[in-house]
């Protein structure tokens, strides 16, 4: 039997104690998918409850808990680790031409910290749950008699995992680039992971202290966020969003990185605006820290602050627009190969553009006051987080599938699933824009009868989405076991991960490769791998 990372070391023990970044990535993958299933089931239950006005399957208190679980699971346990910890862990050292990340043991520790935090948070499900929403706004989160403290503790623990992964990636990119891999030859996925890591490292500690203070509110009545004890609940919102707004970019920046890899490979053209795409990731990371106040437009923030935050928020559209423009320009006159990863990149462009543009609507003060806390906001961030991050996760899962497992996924099934997901997604969330603009509030268990039709459409859409994801799980699992054997470089791509066998050997490369060119040299006469393994 050939020696690769999957066969190197046998038995469960060799997996649980591994320091191999590829195996850690696989463990993250299965953990994240498990929580994705859980969060998805909660989403389906929510949509089912909203299929008709009044009580359908659960009472209002249960509904409050279910939307809290859905949000908390999807944000903290799925989308934040999905692309950095799964794709990043697997691909980053390979793209660098390195044997592993800088601190392999710390990497394994990050995984266990994530798992511990996720299990602590999930244990609340078996106690009295939590009904605060994933945002934990005070003073309600101080008063609720559910087990919110446990969920807070779980999120607090998971934060450390995110910080340590970010730290590991930053040091790896600085210190482990293969000979010849200068910054200007770095693949764009790594640029976006670098920007993501900076946000993880700088923002997450602020979440940690915020959650800790909230836990102290509940345990020791410290009162810093509690108006009844002289504290300030709006201060909680400032603290929370100082992390949680940048966290949105933790979700979307790596997604943009995946798209930046997929589009040139399947357009057979050099990427347009390499530097613009690379630097705009840092533009987004920088502005990310200056816009949190747009979550507080109706929380009693001063008008001057509202004005400044509104303006700064609109600035996010500039680096984002630079990226979208560059991707489209890359495809222009390219020889486009419509494989599944490319289809998902198209899906990303469609959904993310809608999500991003409605973000500009929301940044506009006059519109924001009208649609605050309505389904318009819900639709907006699902277009960004699901339409952007999850579409891109699917793109990455298919693009790197041959590298992960050494086998090909079935192309036809991939296309069918894409059709199911893109139509299901639009059917679920587009009606929510209309519902929100007509005034249906978010997080309500009940609604006026005139909203019934659009809610039904949305619920039917959620079933299509579920069908798509279940089908994907089915054929990907089968392909992982029995798919056709994959060559080292099935997509004729240039980055270093494709210059080593699929699946890669334990040490990634027989010899450390030497890099001689940038990664996007796709020409009519062929493609030019970034480096060769001697």
């Amino acid at each position: 039997m050939e020696d690769n990372y999957l066969t190197h070391g046998k038995g469960l023990g060799s997996w649980l104690t591994t320091r191999d970044h590829k195996r850690i990535a696989v463990m993250y993958l299965f953990s994240v998918l498990t929580f994705f299933l859980l969060g998805g089931i909660f989403a389906l239950l929510l949509r089912l409850e909203l299929a008709s006005p009044g009580k359908t399957i659960m009472n209002a208190d249960t509904y409050n808990k279910v939307f809290t679980y859905h949000g908390a699971i999807m944000v903290f346990m799925v989308i934040i680790p999905a692309i950095p910890a799964v794709m990043g862990n697997f691909i980053l050292p390979l793209m660098l031409g390195a044997r592993d990340v800088a601190f392999p043991r710390l990497n394994l520790a990050s995984y266990y910290i994530y798992l511990a935090g996720a299990l602590v948070a999930a244990s609340a499900l078996f106690l009295r749950g939590a009904d605060t929403g994933w945002t934990f706004y005070t003073p309600y989160s101080i008063r609720t008699n559910t087990t919110a403290t446990i969920v807070l503790a779980g999120a607090f623990i998971m934060g450390f995992s995110s910080v340590l992964t970010g730290l590991n990636f930053i040091v790896s990119i600085h210190k482990l680039r293969a000979p010849g891999l200068s910054w200007s030859r770095l693949p764009l996925f790594l640029w976006s992971l670098y920007a993501t890591s900076i946000i993880q490292v700088l923002a997450t500690p602020v979440l940690a202290i915020t959650l800790l203070l909230l836990i102290f509110e509940r345990l020791f009545r410290t009162g810093i966020f509690d108006p009844a004890l002289g504290g300030d609940p709006v201060l909680f919102q400032h603290f929370f969003w100082f992390y949680s707004h940048p966290a949105v970019y933790i979700m979307i920046l790596p997604a943009m990185g995946v798209v930046s890899e997929v589009i040139p490979v399947f357009s057979r053209k050099p990427i347009f605006g390499y530097k613009a795409i690379a630097y705009s990731s840092f533009g987004i990371a920088l502005v990310a820290f200056l816009v949190w106040g747009h979550h507080l437009f109706v929380s009693g923030q001063s008008e001057l602050a509202n004005f400044v935050f509104s303006l700064l928020t609109m600035l996010v559209a500039v680096p984002t627009g630079v990226k979208v423009f560059s991707w489209v320009a890359t495809m222009y006159k390219g020889k486009i190969r419509l494989k599944t990863p490319m289809l998902y990149a198209f899906g990303f462009l469609q959904l993310f553009t809608i999500g991003g543009l409605t973000g500009v609507f929301l940044a506009t003060l006059a519109i924001n006051v009208h649609v605050t806390d309505t389904y318009f906001v819900v639709a907006h961030f699902h277009y960004v987080m699901v339409g952007g991050a999850i579409m891109s996760l699917m793109a990455g899962l298919h693009y790197w599938f041959p590298k992960f497992w050494g086998r090909m996924y079935p192309e036809r099934s991939g296309r069918i699933t894409f059709a199911l997901l893109i139509s299901g997604f639009n059917l679920t969330f587009f009606p929510q824009f209309i519902l929100g603009s007509r005034g249906m509030p978010r997080r309500y268990w009940d609604y006026l009868p005139e909203f019934t039709v659009l809610n039904r459409v949305s619920t039917v859409g959620s079933w299509l989405l579920a069908a798509g994801f279940f089908y994907a799980a089915f054929y990907l699992y089968r392909a992982m076991r029995h798919g056709e054997r994959a060559p080292a470089n099935p997509w004729e791509a240039n980055t270093l991960e494709w210059q080593t066998p699929s699946p890669p050997p334990h040490d990634n490369f027989p010899e450390i490769p030497v890099v001689t060119t940038w990664p996007y040299e796709y020409r009519e006469k062929g493609f030019f791998p970034q480096g060769m393994v001697p």
Binding site: H8, G9, R19, D20, P93, A98, R99, D100, V101, A102, F103, P104, R105, L106, A109, V163, L167, N168, I170, V171, S172, H174, K175, L176, V201, L202, A203, T204, P205, V206, A208, I209, T210, L212, L213, F216, F220, R221, T222, G223, I224, D226, L229, G230, G231, D232, L235, F239, H506, D507
Partner: protein, 223 residues
């Protein structure tokens, strides 16, 4: 953790089927470990930063309360602890230097002294806290001191306990790390060629010291 990574691999790489080090050599590994530690300290600054922001906001809103409440802290004890911690930073630095020059006994002495000074800090803190508990100078909802009448005063003690408490946790972690250094120094695992963990724990200890240098004037000397 990251520091141990490097050392363990040097010992076990040949024996196990783990990767060989991802680094070209020990110097690169050392540089990477230092960079990792600096980034970690940045995250620590941001975590304490949240508390300093909360402090700043409430100080701005209720300056008179801070003026009144800070008199209930013992400046002499806080001052003693400031001196103790600064001294411990000195002994730590001397210990790191001794390790780098291969003077093992000297290193043991200075790490031991650092641990002793840290214990002094804990002892003083213990007396301070028990006095506060006795006087009812407690956080938020548990405040029950009768002399301090300012309605917002409980917030001051919330901030006092959270800020010094989180710092105390860091002192305890630091003591654990220094004890670990002592154990490994006894086992002759450090020397002029390999002292990454010593250097990194040193960074950490100076950081813990620095946080206190901000906490002391902000809490004890605000008047």
């Amino acid at each position: 953790m990251m520091s141990a990574d490097v050392s363990d691999r040097a010992v076990t790489a040949a024996a196990s089927h783990e990767h060989e080090s991802p680094f070209a050599g020990p110097d690169e590994a050392f540089e990477a470990a230092k960079q990792g530690m600096w980034i970690f300290l940045v995250t620590e600054v941001l975590m304490f930063g949240g508390l300093f922001v909360a402090y700043g906001i409430f100080r701005g809103l209720h300056a008179d309360m801070f003026q009144e409440a800070h008199r209930y802290l013992a400046v002499s004890l806080g001052g003693t602890n400031t001196v103790v911690l600064i001294l411990s930073s000195l002994t730590m630095a001397l210990g790191v230097g001794a390790t780098q020059r291969g003077q093992r006994d000297r290193a043991l002495l200075f790490f031991g002294l650092t641990l002793l000074l840290a214990s002094c800090f804990l002892l003083v803190k213990y007396f301070e806290y028990s006095h506060k508990f006795h006087e009812g100078l407690l956080p938020g909802g548990y405040f029950r001191n009768e002399h301090l009448k300012h309605p917002k005063a409980p917030l001051f003690f919330s901030l006092y306990f959270v800020m010094t408490g989180l710092h105390l946790v860091h002192v305890l972690v630091g003591m654990g790390l220094i004890a670990w250094l002592l154990k490994r120094t006894v086992a002759r695992q450090f020397g002029p060629h390999y002292y990454t963990p010593v250097e990194l724990v040193g960074f950490y200890w100076h950081f813990v010291d620095m946080v206190w240098i901000y906490l002391f004037p902000l809490l004890y000397l605000v008047g």
